[in-house]
Symmetry: C2
Subunit: 228 residues, 2 copies
């Protein structure tokens, strides 16, 4: 069963939504506290997040952005703010749907179903600049093409994507490859890295792996600018 988390501060509205969604066959949870929402949200690992924009303290935009940075979970925004500006902004930072209150039940349900449908198979995709990586199979999607990376190359790329723009140490990489970083096999790691680099250039990817002398490696844009 698909799990939906509702983020809405007004109690009456929240209950109504919970009811509606439950009747429609979803498992529903609501966020009670509004501190560290983004973090709490991810821990519930929902299939979809239904988000109000006007919340105490924190902005709904901020939550949406945080969720989208850290996960591929779809976000549907349901709000009373009907300004075009807000809608465009929401879509820009990655919201998957923007609905304004009042919203007919049928429309809400239809749009939610629609978003969920589009997310089938995306649950485990990591996002890079201009490409996607499936964490389970190491299938790489780029430019309407797809390739399955050899396991080791996939594991390495995965570590880089999870690390964001940070420097990744050789320990981290060895850990990912062999489950231990006790004795680092510099050579074997080097060879595997070279292989990944080669396939990345062959695929004309927009990010590349560069060494950080003495510290490890890091993922950058082709042209040398930082990512994101």
């Amino acid at each position: 069963m698909k799990r939906i988390v509702v983020v809405e501060d007004e109690a009456f509205m929240r209950e109504e939504l919970e009811n509606l969604l439950q009747k429609a066959g979803y498992e529903v949870r609501a966020v009670d506290s509004f501190e560290h929402v983004a973090k709490n949200l991810l821990e519930m690992s929902p299939n979809l997040i239904l988000l109000d924009l006007n919340l105490p303290n924190l902005s709904g935009f901020q939550i949406c952005r945080e969720v989208k940075q850290k996960s591929p979970i779809p976000v549907v925004i349901l709000t009373s703010r009907d300004q075009m500006r807000d809608e465009l902004h929401a879509l820009e930072i990655g919201a998957d749907e923007y609905l304004t209150k009042p919203c007919r039940k049928e429309r809400l349900l239809a749009r939610i179903a629609n978003v969920l449908k589009r997310y089938e198979g995306r649950a485990n995709l990591l996002e890079g600049e201009g490409f996607l990586l499936d964490r389970q199979t190491y299938t790489l999607y780029i430019h309407d093409a797809s390739v399955v990376l050899p396991k080791n190359q996939g594991k390495l790329l995965e570590v880089f994507l999870l690390g964001g723009q940070k420097v990744v140490t050789k320990e981290d990489l060895c850990d990912a490859l062999w489950g231990t970083s006790e004795f680092i096999d510099e050579n074997a790691l080097q060879v595997n890295l070279t292989r990944l680099k080669k396939t990345m250039t062959n695929l004309q990817m927009h990010q590349k792996i560069v060494p950080v002398r003495g510290e490890g490696y890091r993922l950058m844009m082709e042209d040398g600018t930082d990512e994101a």
Copy 2:
């Protein structure tokens, strides 16, 4: 560059749309004749279809349904029909977005960009009942999990999915596996089929392959009903 095909019978509106989309950096084509639209559409292999509902002769719904049956191309509906009934129906038969005229340019562009973003990596996915298959890598997506099928199993499953509910002959299958159906190697084919069946049951897929004595095989629902 992403290619968008516009299906709209009113000339003024059509030109305005073409203009807007071109300025936004898309390659735009328009459909002139409205016969065999669905077929013509697919031949243009667009990245997205922008569709009006009120067309001479044919219903936009029908076009949308046909496109969705035969391809994974996203369809955005832009129409003057503002009945909730129409919107629900459109979403039900697989439309990815439903917008009503008049529609602000910014909103149209934002929604189109949004849909295109969600379709990254989906260009080569075939749809089965409850699962997706990548035609290039034979990566299979099911229940938030993914597996890469061995090439032969992938090729076989691909043939079944392309064939729809029809019976697939052994010639077809041999053709897919070895590029020829001159001498059918009954045995090798049998073994490969068995392997595919096994992984399908292991993955608890909702469709299965059943023999049609003397004719070949066909893909059905678990419970024996026909598919969709």
